[in-house]
Amino acid sequence: EAGVAQSPRYKIIEKRQSVAFWCNPISGHATLYWYQQILGQGPKLLIQFQNNGVVDDSQLPKDRFSAERLKGVDSTLKIQPAKLEDSAVYLCASSHQGGPYEQYFGPGTRLTVT
């Protein structure tokens, strides 16, 4: 079974530029999560999708971050414009059902904003 795929693996941009990350979850997983992991910290949930609907986006900075999962499969997370404090690893995870059990994580995208 293929795991969660993410691209790109690394991205370096200047502040005020835009960036997008892509995630393809495990086949059949209805729930998809985006996390932000700042160096030295645990992951922080940004947004959770159930199929193509948003379950929770309370910690998503909506003035600059947006995410979509139009067909209920893959997802895109965008930052526009980026700030220095957005430097982090962005992790995508998926799970079978809406609960927290058995979340499978992708390798993440390491973003550096200069």
Binding site: G42, P43, D56, E102, Y104, F105, P107, G108
Partner: protein, 110 residues
């Protein structure tokens, strides 16, 4: 905002030693998960505990869930260099979302 505190933040030990890391909160969890994360990779689930007082074993790793379901511990017996990594606990309060602790970074030296 629910908070999970992990201790210690860093731990450096010699191969063969035993260690325990802790995960604490003032709130009651529905369930708690432990993950291990290696550099450049996403977290990998080790175990999920659901019942207060529950103990689960995974080879040399022993996980315990507190009776009141507010805390948990991970004990590693005879640590090996392959155990090196970031250990994360994650609590579920609402039934479908996880809040992660800050992690314990473990280094096991040969």
């Amino acid at each position: 905002t629910q908070l999970l505190e992990q201790s210690p933040q860093f731990l450096s030990i010699q191969e063969g030693e035993n260690l325990t890391v802790y995960c604490n909160s003032s709130s009651v969890f529905s369930s708690l998960q432990w993950y291990r994360q290696e550099p450049g990779e996403g977290p990998v689930l080790l175990v999920t505990v659901v019942t207060g007082g529950e103990v689960k074993k995974l080879k040399r790793l022993t996980f315990q869930f507190g009776d009141a379901r507010k805390d948990s511990s991970l004990h590693i017996t005879a640590a090996q260099p392959g155990d090196t990594g970031l250990y994360l606990c994650a609590g579920d309060w609402a039934g479908n979302m996880l809040t992660f602790g800050g992690g314990t970074r473990l280094m096991v030296k040969p």
